[in-house]
C-alpha cells in the first residue's frame, strides 16, 4: 500500500539533509509510490550515502581547495585581453583576472557593468538608446571642434548639429553647463549657428591655454567614469554594457532595473550592496573566469575561498595584507612571505607562538592537528 503525501512529508521533514536532496527525495518517492517500509529503507540508504559524501571531520579543506583551484590555474593563459562576451568591450580574463579577484583589488583593471532595463525600456530600442546617452559620459570633443582664437583671446566651439540631435543636447544646455563648471564668460554666437564662444576671465595666454585644457575634462551629460555604453539584445530584451563602472550613480537613473544591474567591480558591490552580495559576486566572477578558460572547479572550493575572504564583514584579500597576514602564529606568517621582517618584528616585540596551527608545527617537526593527528584517545 502506497502512503500519502502528508506521511511522506512527515517522515522526510525532520531529516538532517540539504533542502535540494529532500526535494528530490520527495518528488521521486511521490512519482514511484512506495510503502512505509520501503520509504524507511530508502531514507536509511540516502542518509548513509549523504553521510559518506560529507567531508570528514579534521579534513584539511583549505589545502584541498587551494590545490583544486591552483592546479587548473597553471593551465590558464598568462595574459589575455579578450573582446570576449560583449562585442567591442575589452575585459581582463584568465589568470590576471583570477589574481585580481583573490587580491580583492579596489578597482579591477577593466571595470565593466551589465545594466538591465525595466520592462518599458527593455523592448524598445529607441528608449534603450536614449537611456544609454543618459549614462555614457559626453565630453566636448565628442560634440564639437574647438579652436583657440589667439587674436581675440577666446575659445571658439563649433558644435556638430547632427551629433547634438543624436545625443539629445542643445547648445543652450552646453553653454549653461560650461558656465557653471568653468566659471567664465560663455556666450552663444549670434552670427554663426551652433557656435559657442568662451572668454577667459583675464585676457592672458596662460588663462586661455588653461581653459582650453580644462574644457576637455567637463562631463556635459551622463555619468563621469562611464567611457562607453554598448547596447545588445540578450534574448528578448535589450541590455546595456558599459566600459567603466559607477554602480551607485547608475542605479539612480530612471529606467534601470535595480534588481538585476551588476558590475564586475567587487569593491563597488561591497560598498553599495554589502558583504553578502560581494561574496556572491566573488563566486560568480571566479567561476566565470575559470569556466571561460574551459576549466571546471567544484563550486564548493570557490565558495570556501569566498567565505573566508568575507567572514570578517569586509572583503579581505588572500595574501600578505589579508588572510595570510592576519594569522596568529609568527611562524605561519614567516613561512608565507617576507620571512625576515616577520621574524624580526616578532623578536623585537617578544611575541609567543603557541604552536596551535598546522604550518608552525610542521616547521618545528611535530605532528599536526589534522586528520588522525587531531584526535586524542583517553583510556578509562
Amino acid at each position: 500500500m502506497t502512503i500519502s503525501e502528508a506521511t511522506i512529508d512527515a517522515m522526510i521533514s525532520g531529516l538532517d539533509l540539504p533542502k535540494n536532496i529532500m526535494k528530490t527525495l520527495k518528488s521521486d518517492v511521490m512519482k514511484v509510490g512506495v510503502t512505509k517500509k520501503e520509504l524507511e529503507d530508502i531514507i536509511e540508504q540516502v542518509m548513509k550515502s549523504y553521510d559518506y559524501a560529507c567531508v570528514e571531520p579534521c579534513e584539511a579543506v583549505g589545502v584541498v581547495s587551494a590545490q583544486s583551484i591552483g592546479e587548473p590555474g597553471t593551465q590558464m593563459t598568462m595574459r589575455t585581453f579578450h573582446y570576449a562576451g560583449v562585442a567591442e568591450i575589452n575585459v581582463t580574463l584568465g589568470l590576471p583576472r583570477l589574481i585580481e579577484i583573490v587580491d580583492a583589488r579596489k578597482t579591477p583593471s577593466t571595470p565593466m557593468m551589465t545594466i538591465a532595463l525595466e520592462e518599458e525600456y527593455a523592448h524598445d530600442r529607441d528608449k534603450a538608446r536614449r537611456l544609454a546617452w543618459e549614462i555614457e559620459a559626453t565630453h566636448i570633443e565628442h560634440l564639437a571642434d574647438i579652436t583657440t582664437d589667439l587674436a581675440n583671446m577666446q575659445l571658439i566651439i563649433d558644435l556638430h548639429e547632427k551629433t547634438l540631435n543624436y545625443r539629445v543636447l542643445t547648445p543652450d544646455e552646453i553653454a549653461d553647463k560650461l558656465r557653471e563648471e568653468l566659471d567664465v564668460m560663455v556666450n552663444i554666437s549670434d552670427s554663426v549657428a551652433n557656435q559657442i564662444i568662451v572668454t577667459p576671465n583675464a585676457p592672458s595666454y596662460r588663462e586661455l591655454l588653461q581653459l582650453a585644457k580644462n574644457i576637455h575634462s567637463i562631463t556635459l551629460k551622463g555619468i563621469e567614469g562611464i567611457k562607453r555604453v554598448v547596447i545588445r539584445k540578450d534574448g528578448e530584451e535589450y541590455t546595456l554594457y558599459t566600459e567603466g563602472s559607477q554602480l551607485k550613480n547608475v542605479l539612480q537613473i530612471e529606467g534601470v532595473d535595480v534588481t538585476r544591474t551588476s558590475t564586475n567591480n567587487i569593491g563597488e558591490i561591497y560598498d553599495v550592496f554589502g558583504i553578502e552580495a560581494a561574496r556572491n559576486s566573488i563566486i560568480t566572477e571566479a567561476t566565470n573566469t575559470l569556466s571561460e578558460q574551459g576549466l571546471t572547479v567544484d563550486i564548493r572550493h570557490i565558495m570556501l575561498v569566498s567565505d573566508i575572504m568575507c567572514c570578517d564583514g569586509e572583503v579581505k584579500q588572500i595574501g600578505r595584507h589579508g588572510i595570510s597576514g592576519e594569522k596568529a602564529s609568527v611562524f605561519a606568517r614567516a613561512a608565507f612571505e617576507v620571512t625576515v621582517n616577520h621574524l624580526l618584528d616578532a623578536g623585537m616585540r617578544g611575541d609567543r607562538d603557541e604552536l596551535n596551527g598546522v604550518t608552525e608545527n610542521i616547521i618545528v617537526g611535530q605532528p599536526i592537528k589534522l586528520g588522525t593527528g587531531d584526535v586524542h584517545l583517553i583510556t578509562k
Binding site: 560598498d271 553578502e276 559576486s281 565558495m303 570578517d312
Partner: protein, 78 residues
C-alpha cells in the same frame, strides 16, 4: 534620489534579525559563543536597511547552488 529596496536585488540574499531564543538554539547546535560567528559591519548597506544594531545576529538565507537553501549567521559589529 531614487528609492529602492536593496533586498530585492538578485545578488543579495534575505537578511533578518534573529530572535533571542532562535539564536540560543543555533549557538547550542554548533557549541559556540556569539563572538565566534562570522561578522558583518553595522555600516553594511543591508544592515542599515533592516535596522540591526551592534550585537544583533542576522540570519542570512542564502540561495546555494549546492544545497538549494542554506542558513548563515553573522554578528553585527561596529
Amino acid at each position: 534620489m531614487r528609492k529602492f529596496s536593496l533586498l530585492d536585488h538578485q545578488l543579495i540574499p534575505k537578511h533578518e534579525i534573529m530572535l533571542e531564543d532562535e539564536l540560543k538554539s543555533v549557538l547550542k547546535q554548533y557549541a559556540i559563543e556569539k563572538e565566534q560567528l562570522p561578522k558583518i559591519k553595522v555600516v553594511d548597506p543591508v544592515i542599515q536597511e533592516i535596522g540591526a544594531q551592534v550585537g544583533d545576529v542576522v540570519k542570512i538565507t542564502r540561495i546555494s547552488q549546492t544545497a538549494d537553501e542554506a542558513f548563515y549567521y553573522r554578528l553585527v559589529i561596529a
